[in-house]
Symmetry: C2
Subunit: 212 residues, 2 copies
Amino acid sequence: MTEKTDKTIGMSEEELNARHAEKMKKIKAARDKMQATKTDEKGLVIVNTGKGKGKSTAGFGMVFRALGHGMKIGVVQFVKGSWDTGERWVLEKFPDQVTISALGEGFTWETQDRARDIQMAKDAWEQAKAMILDDSYDMVLCDELNIVLRYDYLPVSEVIDVLKAKAPMKHVIITGRNAKDELIEVADLVTEMEMIKHPFRSGVKAQKGIEF
Amino acid sequence: MTEKTDKTIGMSEEELNARHAEKMKKIKAARDKMQATKTDEKGLVIVNTGKGKGKSTAGFGMVFRALGHGMKIGVVQFVKGSWDTGERWVLEKFPDQVTISALGEGFTWETQDRARDIQMAKDAWEQAKAMILDDSYDMVLCDELNIVLRYDYLPVSEVIDVLKAKAPMKHVIITGRNAKDELIEVADLVTEMEMIKHPFRSGVKAQKGIEF
């Protein structure tokens, strides 16, 4: 039943099983060895960037995972409309653990009012900063902060100073495309989401549960 | 206060604001135009692949978002130990909406028993298939299915046949590195998560809330 590769064609099921057991044993040994060298535990600065989907979604996924570990979490929205009512609905089920700072506002494509957008970005950052520096929070998600930094509404140096001042065990997640080099430099974990295929290209509109 | 680029050095705040308003107006017009061409609504086959972090996490993020829209969701674990107690804890808060099919087993690096792994993969797939073909589910997450397909524990053609037979509005999310070309071909949305920087490289061990 199993499809065979060039290498394994002609092998009996028993041979395939034996070959597999040997291979898995080696992989396991390599993994165990690698894990054994990892001894530090520390709070991470995590950046999800790139043009693909899943930057914020993976950030929220981490928040939900942390919830299950009893962590206290702050979530700050930097771009208006980037948030889904669905995510908010679930987050609001955990009022003891999650603080949402959405301002209802933030940067938006709708206003074309730069002065207002800068003020909103600064206000949102003040809230994020307070949670990053408050030791009672275990994790802070700065959703779409990269957009604000990219437009220079907020100096990246100010964000980096705060990240350097955070408690060692605190995790900070920053999402949005076009992450600044300076931020990538100080981050511990950086992932670039690349779009390989997108339904918008074939005329499918944004829909609930997927896009928002 | 705002950092200036080469182009904008020397401009007054008023000039910057006017320039910005003009630029945002153009972006908004382009976005509105693009959105207007998108009229279809359909269930998507979504693939999160690549070597980076966030493939499963973004999948779970979508599940949590869909929860907030009242959707009914099936979640199937194909690789043992890939799941976090944290994610499960949150999912279990929504028993009316979420069906978890973890089997407690599935493919694992630990056993080195190929025959058993194949059986587990097939069992997990039977459960996923049932939920994909059951019209009462709005979304099915097949977590780490790509791993199972990659090892040819399950023929990709069988998975594709089921995806083609699903109800038009149903969303199916498939995660795991090394997605097969045939699967990418039938998918609507494919994202590759690329690792730019990873803390394991600097001796930090896996830790709760982040890795598991």
